[in-house]
Amino acid sequence: MGEPGTSELVKLEDLEASRTLTGRKHILSLMVENKPGVLARIAGLFSRRGFNIDTLAVGPTEDPNISRITLTLDGAVHPIDQVTKQLHKLVNVIKIRDMEPDQTVAREMALFRVNAAVENRQEIMQFAEIFDAKIVDVSRRSLTIEVTGTADKIDSFENMIRPHGLIEMARTGEVAISKARPDN
């Protein structure tokens, strides 16, 4: 760009802005004050800003004053950076972590009630075994199965089981914590 104004070179054309869409799924872990209305504020922010939450899980932490909210979002659709910055503006949100996929343990639990007539009962029970799932309720025509694992694993289980007649499904949404460092 021709002669610079000083000898200290910063070429304007070399300056880059950070990318906004990451293209992958993100798990956000929020530590929030355990106060009335906090969830409403978070839900309200998402609807107002047009952010879509894929899953949401809320629960207590080791500190009774603090709850943990685990959210999953699609980084191909939402600028995650903007989402976390907006969440940070909520006074009751203490900390937000955008969990690093390979340094995170994430788990979800799901319950499936499946048609299980005598003919296919055996096959379904085999699937359950492969997926390390538990049969938690049995009736004459159906089985209720509990599966725990990553969201992907639960998706796969659902795909396997669906052709047999999925009657009902409930999923918790993922919860996540960071993996311990090797020396800890």
């Binding site: 802005a17 004050e33 009335p36 209305g37 940070h88 006074v91």
Partner: protein
């Protein structure tokens, strides 16, 4: 003491001298305590007026504005000013009465879930559930409202709790808010990088906004802008942050900004945004906004950075701190100013070719732009002007050359008609020694005209300069330009006899329909004892130009 008395102890500790409000059932205990409190209460005539007055007070003084309202309809009447304060980042605290705790959730008399209703339009809110929280929450509310990016905070207090007995301890230090840590200092590495980028820019523009005023950083801003021969433009909300009559001043930018400012943004290679949020009235068509520019973005709110426009050098921090450092770092580089000569040549060409102009009349008709110029002269360019929303607002932004901060009070983000008069009242209460003029549109003024009673009742000598064009002028203009002149619901019909209406409220009322008499009429209005209104009949169908039609690019400016 009664928690209601603790409310006033807390307000006193926060240095509050004035509150604006209206009593009712749910906040009766607070009003009972007000009886003995040492602060001035301005009894407005509608809660919206209380809210805008608190905003006007805050904008003019930089202190937190406070409004009271009762539950239900009192509180819902505050919704518009709360939203307004949120959009324009105005430090305000709203204290509302709520029904008794045993009635909450039962659709009790005058119950409205105000914390719920206002959740998306507050910086934060508190619903008191224990009387001991009352002073704690009030102190937290002031802290949150006034620090970081300022904004409205609501404290909703149930009627039974405010009657309870509490101990009041003045606060020691800042409130305990684990999730609230507004950033203050900018990252020095980023500031250095910005200084170097600037030193290498050939076509820089400094684009300042309301954040400079919130940060009380006009001095630092001017120092920085004059560290070199940088071209400077400001948003509607930033006007006054840089002295308008100045060599480096390009005028306001955006939809009704100058061609020069918009063209400069369009051709800039580096834009330094300071406390400005790239609103769509600035960017127009985002994909064609400043296509050649890299951006340095300085803002105290990290979420503003990268929200609408990518930031190549983001700097999160208070404008006062960042500008002081940026100024120092830039000066140390001793950049060669002459690199900007070509840029200035181009800018001067635009300035000569496209000055702000209007066609004046040869007869007695008063052009609206002429009215603003006359107002500038009559007030010595040094009044606090509180504006309504519409064409008159834009003409004031163009033709009243604000040279100091906190002199231009207007509703930019929400664009709330009816803001002007109550905001002027609030400003006059906060700055009794200043001349305060409400510049009103005839469409806007009638939305909050009842506050003339407030000014008369409390001897608040504000002046109204009414730009009377018999229309919702701004909407009329859009219908003319973009809707094929199919005028619908923009004509005001039989408008009130404004001078008589003013007199009915105990004001002085004046009227002017002749250009040659305008200066005298303005002088008489300003000199009149007490509040006074001047009804100025201007051209009915004048359009405000230049203009970037909504959603277009700077290059598409018309008029």
């Amino acid at each position: 003491m009664r928690a209601a008395d603790a409310v006033f102890e807390a307000l006193k500790a926060e240095g509050v001298n004035h509150v604006f409000g209206i009593p009712g059932g749910a906040n009766l205990p607070v009003y009972d305590a007000l009886h003995d409190a040492e602060l001035d209460h301005i009894q407005v005539r509608h809660e919206q007026g209380a809210g805008h007055a608190a905003e006007g007070y805050a904008k003019a003084t930089g202190k937190v504005g406070v409004a009271f309202a009762t539950s239900g309809p009192g509180a819902t009447n505050l919704v518009t000013p709360i939203a307004d304060a949120m959009m324009d980042s105005v430090p305000t605290v709203f204290i509302t009465g709520q029904v008794r705790t045993d009635l909450i959730g039962t659709d009790g008399f005058q119950e409205a879930d105000v914390t719920g209703i206002t959740m998306p339009i507050v910086k934060h809110s508190f619903l008191v559930t224990d009387p001991r929280q009352i002073p704690e929450y009030i102190h937290a509310a002031f802290h949150i409202a006034s620090t970081g990016r300022p904004g409205p905070v609501l404290v909703d207090i149930p009627q039974d709790l405010v009657r309870a007995d509490v101990d009041y301890e003045p606060p020691t230090g800042t409130p305990d808010l684990p999730g609230y840590k507004p950033p203050l200092e900018g990252n020095i590495k980023q500031i250095r990088l910005a200084a170097k980028a600037l030193a290498n820019a050939r076509r820089p523009v400094i684009y300042g906004g309301g954040g400079i005023i919130h940060a009380n950083a006009s001095e630092e801003f001017r120092e920085f802008c004059t560290a070199d021969n940088f071209p400077v433009t400001l948003t509607l909300m930033g006007l006054g942050a840089f002295p308008a009559p100045h060599e480096q001043w390009l005028g306001m930018l955006g939809m009704h900004g100058t061609r020069t400012a918009n063209y400069a943004m369009d051709e800039a290679d580096l834009i330094v945004a300071v406390g400005a949020r790239f609103d769509d009235r600035i960017t127009g068509k985002l994909s064609e906004f400043a296509p050649r520019a890299k951006f340095v973005h300085i803002d105290v709110d990290p979420a503003e950075i990268g929200k609408n426009v990518p930031a190549h050098i983001p700097i999160v921090g208070d404008a006062k701190d960042v500008l002081a450092k940026l100024n120092r770092e830039y000066r140390a580089l001793k950049a060669d100013s002459s690199r900007l000569d070509d840029w200035w040549k181009r800018i001067r060409e635009w300035q000569t070719t496209y000055p702000l102009r209007y066609e004046d009349t040869n007869d007695s008709e008063i052009k609206p732009q002429f009215m603003i110029e006359a107002m500038y002269e009559a007030t010595g360019g040094d009044a606090i002007i509180a504006s309504d929303v519409g064409q008159h607002q834009m003409w004031a932004a163009q033709y009243y050359h604000f040279s100091k901060p906190r002199r231009w009070l207007n509703s930019g983000g929400l664009g709330t008609m009816g803001f002007g008069l109550p905001a002027a009242i609030g400003a006059k209460v906060g700055c009794p020694d200043e001349t305060v003029v409400a510049l009103c549109g005839d469409g806007s003024l009638i939305m909050t005209a009842q506050e003339m009673a407030t000014a008369a009742h409390h001897d608040i000598p504000v002046k109204i300069f009414l730009m009377n064009n018999g229309h919702f002028g701004m909407v009329r203009q859009w219908q003319e330009l973009f809707w094929d002149g199919r005028y619908t619901a923009v004509e005001m019909g039989p408008s009130p006899n404004w001078p008589k209406l003013a007199e009915a409220f105990g004001w002085k009322g004046f009227q002017c329909t002749d250009k040659t008499e305008l200066r005298d009429a303005m002088a008489a209005t300003l000199e009149a004892d007490g509040p006074a209104l001047l009804d100025v009949h201007v051209t009915k169908d004048e359009n405000c130009f230049p203009m970037i039609p909504a959603g277009n690019a700077a290059r598409d400016m018309v008029g």
